[in-house]
Symmetry: C2
Subunit: 135 residues, 2 copies
DNA sequence: TATCTTTACTTGCAAAATGCAATAACAAAG
DNA sequence: CTTTGTTATTGCATTTTGCAAGTAAAGATA
């Protein structure tokens, strides 16, 4: 593990995912059902391969992601969220809400609109879904 | 303004505060009542002066912070949160909760414990406090 | 069994951001 | 007009990011 800058929980969180890419990978898994390296590469933000690899390794090392051989295709890996990763859900949802609220370029789609009406409900719903899927 | 990587609200949020420092400045203002450049410099994470200046400028440009001459000391500036900045509160609180939950090195202090019991209440309480203070 | 495809990753290099130390600008106070 | 407090800049080494190309290995195809 790396050095912590302080024992402030916000600082500790940022030590792990305080960059422009880590939470986008989490988003892809959490909200878009993506599972594999090649699916992450396809996202519209166009992450570079070296950065993707380094983030996947860091998130796995932080026990946020679990990397396993795909049962369907043994030459493929699938990444899934651990409990610790699933617990990032409220942060993701809050960032989604804030980003949509203050950015005219970010139209609210289905989830975004549901969040406006019943944020807690959306979080509960996704928690349920994510915990079903995970080992 | 800079280029957006996509129109995803999470990505747009990360374009603004997706780094290791911006949210720590927000934290200092939001939860610790800090107001000025020199107070931010004192925080335990020891931000460098050039980075502090660049973040303050970026956050001001993003309309998250407001920079004003201090009424008490006219050679001093004070930074305050705009409505947009105040709305980062839920993200900060969620990151605080997650960081404390998964980091043994981060003891929960008063706020951290309150969050465990009544997160929504803590958010409401801080919203009230912050909106009072702000112009 | 050779070669093609898919999937995951590595490498090299330029550009940008960060970290650190020193110094500057400038208003207010004495 | 010198000192103090506050904010900001500069220079330089290190680290991270961005981009393009190449490598590796397991299956699938012929």
């Amino acid at each position: 593990m790396e050095k912590l800058r302080s024992d402030c929980p916000i600082s500790c969180s940022l030590d792990i995912f305080g960059d422009k890419w880590s939470l986008l990978i989490i988003r892809d898994i959490m909200l878009r059902g993506k599972l594999s390296y090649s699916e992450f590469l396809e996202s519209e933000e166009k992450i570079a391969t070296n950065i993707l690899v380094s983030r996947l390794k860091a998130l796995e090392a932080a026990n946020i992601l679990l990397k396993q051989v795909s049962p369907a295709n043994k030459s493929k890996f699938i990444y899934s969220l651990t409990e610790k990763g699933i617990d990032l859900l409220p942060i993701i949802i809050e960032m989604m809400d804030w980003g949509a609220k203050y950015n005219a370029n970010c139209p609210r789609r289905e989830v975004g609109k549901k969040i406006q009406k019943d944020k807690a409900g959306v979080i509960r719903e996704y928690y349920k879904k994510l915990r079903k899927t995970t080992t």
